[in-house]
Symmetry: C2
Subunit: 195 residues, 2 copies
């Protein structure tokens, strides 16, 4: 299969890339690494990505930023980070991606832990929102297309950044490091850390 | 109790207003009707609302637009209507409202039907997102503050607009019509219809 992996250099994405390598043709995309550079917050950028890839059999999306911080000090602009990043970012890939899939193809989005945790109201809302989108979108897809969301827990590789938010949670090693080369087409800064 | 009702002239809000009238001091707010005009998509507008109301004992929010339409033709900007309207709009009221509540006060947000329906991926995501926010926010509130989300089905009064989206669903009469007078402070257009 020809698989487009968006967010290929992140903790989750690099593990997915390793798992698929050798069995499928993996096209990697990310903010600054991979075969293609893409900004999932931009319609033009995502449309350009699919114009470059042509038809694919599967799309895996493991990208999108969120805000972590206490509710008491949270501002709407903080909350919007996750809405525009991990939620609308992934939805954007799905909306444009549905038209780039071969019959029977699949879209896989990424959510996160189901349990609410302190200082993560944005993550709780965004992950629930992704799941709500997937539940409804699955009914409308045609041509045998499928859409799913996967919910990894915190990655072992992400513990230095996100560990304090997940006390008591058992992390999962991503079992893979990114081998994606910097994209030659852009010089944007490295991606922010993601769960 | 002193209750601030945001979205008081909508199908849900007008029923809430009627239910609370006589038992509580209800302060109504809406885009163009009520004691105060407020645009829930604007930080400045929501901050001005709470500056005008002073401390309250409860906040009820029944407002925020969403997009209805088929997935196949949906654009990210369509999807963002619900993110900025019903999701971030209500979250904004909660974020600023937490600081305007007396000890032991409550915030009540509005979601919608849990079941995904055709042409409503935006509603499915937005309602799930509101619920995800509430689940996590409830853990962080202090001073005995509470937050909940209520999930009405489609209002009988909304059937002329939204009926075709809810085949097989039994509507619920709101048992109340808005008695809110147009706000004298603004001349904005009437609110869009909401579920």
């Amino acid at each position: 299969m020809k698989v487009l992996l968006v967010g290929a250099s992140g903790a989750v994405g690099s593990a997915v890339a390793q798992a698929l390598a050798g069995r499928h043709e993996v096209i990697s995309a990310g903010r600054s690494h991979g075969d293609h550079c893409v900004d999932v917050t931009s319609d033009a950028s995502v449309e350009a990505l699919f114009a470059a890839t042509g038809k694919v059999d599967a799309i895996v999306c493991a990208t999108g930023g969120m805000f972590f911080g206490p509710l008491a000090a949270m501002r709407p602009t903080d909350f919007d980070i996750g809405l525009q990043g991990k939620l609308l970012g992934q939805v954007r890939v799905a909306l444009f991606g549905q038209h780039a899939l071969n019959d029977g193809g699949s879209i896989t989005l990424t959510t996160g832990i189901d349990e609410p945790i302190l200082n993560a109201v944005n993550a709780s809302a965004v992950n629930a929102g992704v799941e709500g989108f997937v539940r409804a979108a699955a009914m409308e897809l045609t041509r045998g297309l499928r859409i799913n969301a996967v919910s990894p827990t915190v990655m072992t590789e992400s513990l230095p950044v996100y560990g304090p938010y997940f006390p008591g949670f058992e992390s999962v090693p991503s079992k893979g490091a990114s081998t994606a080369a910097p994209c030659s087409a852009c010089k944007s800064p490295p991606p922010v850390a993601h769960v």
